[in-house]
Amino acid sequence: MTEFNGILTLTVFLPALASLIIMLAKPLQLEDRLIRWFAILSTVATFILSMIVFLAYDRDAGGVQFIDHIAWLSAETIKSSYLLGVDGLSAPLVLLTGLLGMAAAFASRNIQLRVSEYFIWLLLLEAAVMGVFVSLDLLLFFVFFEFEVIPMFMLISLWGSGRPRYSAMKFVLYTLAGGAFMFVGIFAVYLTGAVDTLTMVAVPQLGIVGIADQIAGVDLIAPASLIFAFFLVAFAVKLPVWPLHNWLPDAHTDAPTAVSVMLAGVLLKMAGYGMIRINIGLFQETNGFTVHDAAGILSVVAAISVVYGAIVTIRQTDMKRLIAYSSVSHMGFVLLGLTAIGGSNAAIQTGGVNGAALQMFTHGTITGLAFLMVGLAYDRTHTRHIPHLGGLWRRMPVIGIFFFIAGFASLGLPALSGFVSEIMVFLNSFPVWPWAASISAFGVVLAAGYVLWMIQRTFFGAKPPDGGIPDDKFDELTDAEPLDLIPIIALTIPIFVIGIWPKVIVDVFNIGIEEVLR
């Protein structure tokens, strides 16, 4: 059966199409300015489309909507189809991708080096990430998940700073190594006797039952724990979880600002999404081993990620590296929320996973904003070394204010979005894993430490007498330009809105997560 709604295909491939146009227009030697604005406008259009998807998602009906389906690969041992659709879990993440894609494009408007190539890769990156969130077919999901490394490799290698080629290769090898195991896991799931589809969720419109139902109560072709681990490794690398997080600080530090925004904002979320959709979605009733058995160990890993990430964050001297490490800590909360699945109470399970999903969304906007602000400050000061900075508030109050907002949201100040998601994670993981949750709570304390201390050292106090910016240069520092405010405000709005009225996102997530948890 073929059904083709088209809006999701358009949302995914609009950035790709725009990048193709830029590629084909390359021989015309167009002005850089033209290319920039074309790329930015195409991300704006994508954002509008993603907004439409999010708002038009019928919350009363639930389930999978906006289906695009075409049979695609039909070999003997693997049959896959091009199947796009959104449910309550993916709709907010589609919105997040559209939002951050737009912010990243705006933040890239000062790129001077090989402009057309830069936007080709940035747009392809957005398309790949968007594809991950809307693919319902496991192999298609994997295709987008893998494809994303190529634009990242190019963007970090060529437009990065520091040791870009090293960092890019490290990022690629970590991601591919994780993905390789997932690849085998996909075959193992599909080739299990009872499974005849690669569709992850039930799609009644097409008469597809979905792996989650088919796999329930049957023996898999290999031990379920092994296949579970194959998927988990791929996502644990990407999330990242201690001890597989090593690529993240390098990639973040050396990537250009907009790429850091995408990386922290949406790429890490692909992993959290994958864990919910696959590790939790598929392995709840498998024979011999279920996700509930793994929750205990994962809660320990989550607690280590949170606290270890936070401790390492405190001692960072590079602003960007500091925020990068704080991501390790904050993504640990995502994993902690997911471990509530080990509980026996359905409300707690749903709440925990919901908290994790919301934490993904809020972390995307908060850290995206933080990277934007660091990028803006760095563009002006040309250093990110914290001991060399100080007293920036006097020269750039606007950047300071939004840096404050990002920082406070990050440390979980009530009325900002970080608070809501973290409290949801704690409330629901504590009854199940009291020790892990209690230890993780120190992550919040440490977050207050590193955020406030960094802001204090960079924006307040006096300019350091030596090693910093020369006095004449310091007096010439300027504040954010009006155009910079567009991405900044676009990311700030959700921080306040979710902080005050979390229902706007939580309710949608809830629909999807109740369907995933059976």
Binding site: W72, T77, F144, F153, M169, L173, Y190
Partner: protein, 505 residues
């Protein structure tokens, strides 16, 4: 001989005839044109060859669609040759590879102006031998066809006549002789055990012979036969542990010849091995033990190829090791046999192998010929020489990068899709460990492929002189890349004909 016999052989005859035509044309053109402008007229030979290839291609298409002759599984010429769709599928690959190699080497061949006729005659003779080989269904025909492909290939490797080239040819000759000897031994054991040389008769007689319990392959004679045949073809397929000659020969031989060897020679050896082994696959002892054998060979080949490729500094040697690794991935498909299939899909193995081989042919030709165009102009086949290629030849740099990403197995190229298909057959057989080994290998491979892509796209160019490939070179490379993308995005375009051609199971 009946009319059907002639039709069945017609593509091979046309290819051999074309070789003779070029030999004569070379003599005629040389006779007329003395002096400085000799290459100018000899250039026509390339076009005669490319246009002439339409004849075997049309004749093969004729058989495929059954216009006049017909593709049947019935062997012709007293059972020695089978022009089934399986053979035709590989003949298409061989014809296509030959055409691409000729197109991609028009400027390169200038340096062989004295032996241009030999180049084409040898190339087309080797191609004719390969086309015979993929349809051969009798042991002696297989042997003769194999020699017909090997000897011209050795002469081709020596064509540059410098130290490297002579060394390569000498190594190739000795190891080729050795491998043929091993193969002959294997064929003899098969004959001694069953008393027949035709594959269908061998299979029929094996069905009546008892299998011994506890002996691998059910009988020591069959075991020796299988091992020696695999070893013999192992040289041609360039799989570990029979891979030693590959880097030396690829480095020393003219680059287009290396491209031809890495695609056509490999594909034909894989085809004939599939034909022999799948005929015997219905005997459970053979199929079960064969699975372990090929799983081990695949592991060795992938790992050796990829690990040794990591430290290479010469582009041609790196590509040689990469083809060894690629052959290892294909061997994963061989490990998937009917007898142990979990889902009962007997054709899964051949389907995955043929899909992989076809995709590999497109990708590898693009990469090899792309590099051939560069190396010919820069006279530098080191990896460092590729630095900043994007500034010197943007289109070629992009095409080669896509080709390398397809070899690495990045979506949405055919390299990814064919890996998905071929690794899934291993999991289907319960060989999860093999699939894990294979995917870990692709990660190792990612390092050296991406290092080159990085160098091409971001490196500092040592020279700023532009590299401007001719239209014919670009056509060959672009055709490979376009194939690699189209067959990756729309796999059924390739899987459909493959499903029609799995006539050997």
């Amino acid at each position: 001989m009946t009319a059907q016999d002639y039709w069945a052989l017609s593509p091979v005859i046309a290819m051999a005839g074309l070789a003779l035509i070029l030999l004569s044309a070379d003599a005629l053109l040389a006779e007329r044109m003395f002096g400085g402008k000799r290459y100018g007229s000899k250039r026509a030979l390339s076009w005669i060859a490319v246009i002439g290839l339409i004849a075997p291609a049309l004749l093969a298409l004729n058989l495929w669609f059954g216009w006049v002759g017909e593709a049947t599984s019935e062997a012709v010429l007293y059972g020695t040759f089978t022009a089934d769709r399986f053979a035709l599928f590989f003949q298409f690959i061989i014809i296509g590879a030959t055409a691409a190699v000729i197109l991609g080497s028009v400027p390169y061949l200038q340096q062989f102006r004295d032996s241009l006729g030999e180049f084409f005659t040898l190339l087309l003779t080797a191609a004719a031998g390969m086309m015979l080989l993929v349809g051969a269904s009798e042991l002696i025909t297989i042997y003769v066809a194999l020699e017909t492909t090997a000897l011209p290939a050795i002469a081709l490797a020596a064509l540059r006549r410098d130290g490297f080239s002579i060394e390569a040819a000498a190594k190739f000759l000795i190891l080729s002789a050795l491998s043929t000897a091993l193969l002959l031994f294997g064929l003899v054991f098969l004959y001694g055990y069953t008393g027949a040389t035709r594959i269908d008769e061998i299979v029929a007689r094996m069905a009546t012979l008892p299998f011994e319990a506890g002996v691998p392959f059910g009988s020591l004679a069959v075991m020796l036969a299988v091992l020696l045949i695999v070893a013999g073809f192992g040289f041609k397929m360039a799989i570990a542990p029979w891979h030693m000659w590959v880097p030396d020969v690829y480095q020393g031989a003219p680059t287009p010849v290396a491209a031809f060897l890495s695609v056509a020679s490999k594909a034909s050896a894989f085809a004939v091995l599939m034909r022999i082994l799948y005929a015997m696959a219905e005997f459970d002892p053979v199929a079960n033990d064969w699975q372990i054998l090929f799983a081990l060979i695949a592991t060795a080949s992938m790992t050796v190829g990829n690990l040794l490729a990591l430290s290479q500094t010469n582009m041609k040697r790196l590509l040689a090791y990469s083809t060894i690794a690629q052959a290892g991935y294909i061997m994963v498909g061989f490990a998937a046999v009917e007898a142990a299939s979990a889902t009962g899909t007997a054709t899964a193995g051949p389907q995955s192998i043929m899909y992989y081989l076809a995709g590999y042919a497109f990708t590898n030709l693009a990469v090899f010929l792309g590099f051939a165009a560069i190396i010919h102009r820069t006279n530098d086949d080191s990896i460092a020489g590729l630095s900043g290629l994007i500034k010197r030849s943007p289109v070629l740099a992009v095409l080669i990068s896509i080709g390398l990403l397809s070899l690495l197995g990045m979506p949405p190229t055919v390299g990814f899709m064919s890996k998905a298909v071929i690794f899934s057959t291993a999991v289907d057989q319960g060989l999860i460990w093999l699939a894990v080994v294979a995917v870990v290998n692709t990660v190792i491979a990612a390092y050296y492929y991406l290092r080159i892509v990085g160098l091409i796209l971001f490196g500092q160019a040592q020279e700023n002189q532009k590299i401007q490939p001719t239209t014919s070179e670009m056509t060959a490379v672009a055709a490979g890349v376009v194939g690699a993308i189209i067959f990756g995005v729309v796999p059924w375009l390739l899987l459909q004909p493959i499903n029609d051609s799995i006539t050997i199971v």
